[in-house]
Amino acid sequence: MEYEYKDNKITFDKELSVLDKAVIKFVKILDELGIEYVIISGYVAILFGRSRATEDVDFFIEPLNMHKFVELCSRIEKEYWFLNSSDINELFSMLSDNLSIRAAEKGNVMPNYEVKFALRQHEVESLHQKIEVIVNGNTLFISCLEGQIAYKFKLGSEKDIEDALHLYEIFGKNLDKSRLLSGAKNLKVYEEMIENGIEF
């Protein structure tokens, strides 16, 4: 894969998929409103070429107050609908309880954007350790790759481990091995990662 990885920024071009275009469009809303976000999980691997599809794209966003959340909902509801509930108070309550809410373009359910407030320590860290990705001139923020790889091992399904291996294969030489090791130890997945050929 042709890319440049420098100063916490990955720049590359590719043929954008329908999913990529949809994510770029959704992220523009968060950017317009100045809401800090990070994309995590499966879409990160897919963005960098993993040969699988997904139905949802996971986001952590900074916790919002009700006023800002209403502003976000008003903007989202111009083109999207919420899948969990149409009641703003209920949606806000779900987010405050560390649950996720899902939005998709009106009339569709896929792809959908699964959004959570970054409340727990690892979620806040993901937000703070984000990486900037410039794909075909569009900016996206994703979680740090080393943390992503370790977390995928923690999740432990076949699909998750394959996502982790894909990121490791693509970015191997650019990964910070000490950060990878730290993630492995914190999440107690060191043995599993070694067994799968991850080198620290």
Partner: protein, 64 residues
């Protein structure tokens, strides 16, 4: 019959094969092939919101 472990190893082998393939061709080529999978899934996706959430909740209940 193929064992789960053999199947899992084959899948991991393919992940590495595909990543190496991606390194050997221009981005435009691997992404064109990847998009066939992604775009076809979205094209055939359900549009039934209630059914989708029912399935998601069931999957969550049984640990996906």
């Amino acid at each position: 019959m193929e064992s789960n472990s053999e199947n899992s190893n084959q899948r991991k082998w393919f992940v590495k094969y595909w990543a190496n393939y991606m390194k050997s061709v221009p981005n435009k080529e691997w992404s064109r092939q990847q998009n066939i999978i992604i775009d076809s899934q979205l094209k055939s996706a359900t549009k039934d919101k209630d059914m989708y959430m029912k399935i998601k909740n069931m999957m969550r209940k049984f640990g996906e």
